[in-house]
Point group: C2
Chain length 137, copies 2
């Protein structure tokens, strides 16, 4: 069911400082910032092999990433696995009794369809499933 | 410098229960448990694309993963990025003032050479660099 690690999400307090660190120290190329108003974040990302790292800065303290930062401080926030068919993946998980945050896929950055599994189920790791848009890798 | 996500390490309380969850719910194939006495862990792992997920159960409360579990509970523990030449990567990082846990590479599971960057530097994410053994992928 899991095709690859699509991305890791890191919660940071200062997007530009984190981006500069990864550019200067690890030689990666970080893209332009993108705001996702619905999720209350600004994001910048860079590629590592077939995966991406998404740096996430909250735009509101009461957004999910804002609350996470307030409680735990900066660090790893979530992992996203690519699946071929998110609708059937969610149905299988639900049928086997796995608690989901999103029982139906919603639209994420770049037009992907995505959903979160509850971190309680996945041994404390907030786990996203994401289906790539038709034909895109 | 960063070739791919080599693996993610998840701290778990019960290795077999976590392995069963990923096998049954996500259809992955989990390998045999391996004990790394020096690090005070038992580990089981599975592949996702070009990366691996390592499930880590402490064998001692005072091991790094044991202390992490006691303080933060189960969840994401570290990310490991593959680099081509760990000696030169560590030298570059050190020369640019990045705080390292391991200034010299040590030998990790499967004969790899690895080292940790301090999580304070990498915005709260415990970050490992790992060089694959000669010619192996």
């Amino acid at each position: 069911m899991l095709e690859k690690i699509e991305h890791l999400g890191y919660a940071v307090e200062n997007l530009e400082a984190a981006a500069r660190f990864y550019e200067e120290r690890f030689g990666v190329e970080v893209g332009e910032p993108e705001e996702v108003a619905e999720q209350g974040i600004r994001a910048m990302m860079f590629r590592v092999g077939e995966s991406k790292i998404e740096l996430l800065e909250p735009t509101r303290e009461d957004s999910p990433v804002g609350k996470f930062l307030g409680k735990r401080g900066p660090g790893f926030h979530h992992v996203a696995f690519e699946v071929e068919d998110i609708t059937s993946a969610l149905r299988e998980l639900k049928d086997s009794g796995v608690e989901l945050i999103d029982e139906e896929p919603r639209v994420g950055a770049g037009g992907t369809r995505m959903a979160f599994v509850h971190p309680r189920e996945a041994f404390g790791v907030l786990t996203e499933l994401v289906e790539r848009p038709n034909g895109k890798r």
